[in-house]
């Protein structure tokens, strides 16, 4: 399909009107909704009441957004401790849906929705997809997993709400995904960015060039990804790739979304109030400074979240967005406070490893970090797949490549790591979230 036919013309859906509220009106709405939420949390959830009492606060103290800092934080541990239903603010009769997070350790976190909550979720997903340029008439292949994970159903109802045609392929069975994409004239793909890269690779093996299909928009989320991955995706598939943000504790996907400017993600602030705090002290940070994102839900009924610590590291962007939306933006999330690896006492983030690989190779190869312990010391090995661009018939060139990567890693992290070049397609491609780190330290 020619480039100009694929080019996005702005389509505005009525649901998007809330993206453009004048700031003063927006802030009045936020303050009013905050008061209602705090009242509901106090009345409906014993944990919130106890916490607020312990902090010497009551709903009467929360008059404006400036009073938010008086409320205690809520953490993932609180949700686990409340397993399964301890944070629900209304009786089960009013709850029409339950989802659960894919907790990697221990019990999952259960989240609940009333009918109003589902309508809210659909509306923020409609606004998210509309922001990327999705509209009625689009054919949306939804390859997020359907089930307890919020990704599948969230994107599903949002796309249907816009009047698009939804194909609920869910995750997995890549060959069939590609067949559907090609034969059904898919124009929008929703999935994790690492899974789409896997689809690109597989399509190439099958002799299908995604650039020749009508596909024009990708809505990628559920894991952190980099600008380099975006460039790679766009170059190889000819689409425009958008970052969507969300977490099940808040609602699922649809908490924040990139607009056509793609310089930060607009937070649907009329529903989810963002703050940035210092993750070690909990102190609020001024706009523009990097820290942990904290969100308070403003209208959610079944499970209001008061100052929920997302563990995602980002910053609020102080400038207004050229797109005209008044919703503030956060920078793309490249790391989570709990992605942090501690290696011989040094903090290392997978995003730093990506930065080093990118510096040397210019595009991001598939890689994996393997942690082991030998002689009482943490050992970190970075396995990097050889690509047609980096491969050479000369041993010296490959050895030098490994050395240059090791040097770049050392510059970025301060640690000397072992770099191993491995054959292509040997690092497992996940069909859900990319597994970048294998920690075998406890097993040793």
């Amino acid at each position: 399909m020619p480039e100009d036919e694929k080019a996005a013309t702005p389509h505005f859906h009525p649901a998007s009107a809330a993206d453009f509220l004048p700031r003063r009106l927006l802030e009045r709405v936020q303050a009013e909704r905050l008061r209602e939420t705090v009242e509901r949390a106090w009345t409906g959830v014993p944990l919130y009441r106890e916490r607020m009492r312990a902090a010497g606060a009551s709903p009467q103290d929360i008059r404006s957004l400036a009073d938010l800092g008086r409320l205690p934080f809520t953490t993932k541990a609180d949700l686990r401790d409340a397993y399964p239903f301890g944070l629900f603010a209304c009786p089960m009769q009013e709850i029409v849906r339950l989802h659960a997070s894919s907790g990697t350790t221990g019990k999952p976190v259960v989240v609940a929705y009333t009918r109003e909550d589902l309508a809210l979720w659909t509306s923020v997903m409609m606004r998210s997809l509309a922001m990327a340029g999705v509209h009625a008439g689009d054919i949306v292949q939804n390859a997020y997993g359907y089930g307890l994970f919020t990704g599948g159903l969230g994107a599903h109802y949002g796309a249907e709400g816009l009047g698009a045609t939804v194909i609920p392929t869910s995750g997995g069975n890549t060959d069939r995904q590609i067949l559907v994409m090609k034969d059904f004239g898919v124009t929008v793909i929703c999935c994790t960015p690492s899974y789409f890269l896997h689809m690109i690779d597989r399509a190439a093996q099958l002799g299908i060039d995604l650039r020749e299909l009508p596909l024009r928009i990708g809505v990628f989320g559920a894991e952190p990804w980099t600008e380099a991955m975006r460039l790679r995706i766009e170059r190889l598939s000819g689409i425009r790739a958008f970052d969507i943000y969300g977490l099940s504790e808040i609602i699922g996907p649809g908490v924040g979304m990139e607009c056509e400017c793609r310089s930060g993600l607009h937070i649907f602030e009329d529903q989810f109030y963002p703050e940035i705090i210092d993750p070690s002290t909990g102190a609020p940070l001024p706009e523009g400074e990097e820290g942990e994102l904290v969100i308070t839900t403003l209208t959610k009924r079944a499970m209001p979240m008061i100052r929920y610590r997302t563990r995602d590291i980002t910053a609020l962007i102080p400038e207004a967005c050229p797109c005209g939306r008044t919703l503030r933006r956060i920078r793309r999330i490249s790391r989570r406070s709990d992605d942090m690896l501690i290696i011989r006492g040094v903090n290392v983030f997978p995003s730093q490893v990506e930065a080093a690989l990118l510096e040397v190779e210019h595009t991001l190869p598939h890689y994996q970090i393997i942690l082991t312990r030998a002689h009482g010391l943490d050992q970190m090995e970075v396995q990097v797949e050889v690509t047609p661009e980096t491969f050479s018939d000369r041993v010296g060139v490959l050895e030098e490549l490994g050395e240059r990567i090791a040097e770049a890693l050392e510059r970025v992290t301060g640690l000397r790591m072992q770099v191993t070049l491995v054959e292509p397609n040997t690092i497992a491609r996940s069909e859900g979230k990319a597994r970048r780190v294998i920690d075998r330290r406890s097993a040793v």
């Binding site: 093996q205 491969f391 050479s392 000369r394």
Partner: protein
Amino acid sequence: MKLQQLSVFCENKPGHLIEPVRLLARAGIDLRALTLADTQKFGILRLIVRDWQRAKELLESSGAVVKVTEVIAVEVPDRPGGLAGVLELFEGTQINIEYMYAFPYVRGERAVLVFRFDDPDGAIRLLAAGGVRVLERSELEGF
């Protein structure tokens, strides 16, 4: 004449060499010359085959990374001094041999030397001037 050599990346682990070799065997692709460069962690399998385009496609579709490099094959007498005589041509020049490998082809009579030069065109001129016979692709495929 320059010949196309295929190089394939292999990890230095049991079972990793056989995969590309078996793939070519099943496709009936004849290996004319082969060498394996090894390091502690990885190896580079270098091959001259009869139908290099098809071999490259097969290897790539199996997921391997393949690089095509131009190498030069020359024929020398298979006796002491055969190789030295060729190398002497390059003494005092700026042309560097990145690597080379050799195999006899009529035992006791002639041997083939395969060179990867940093400047293949310069090397061909020097070889020709020194009276060394550079092999055509068809000749190498023929034996």
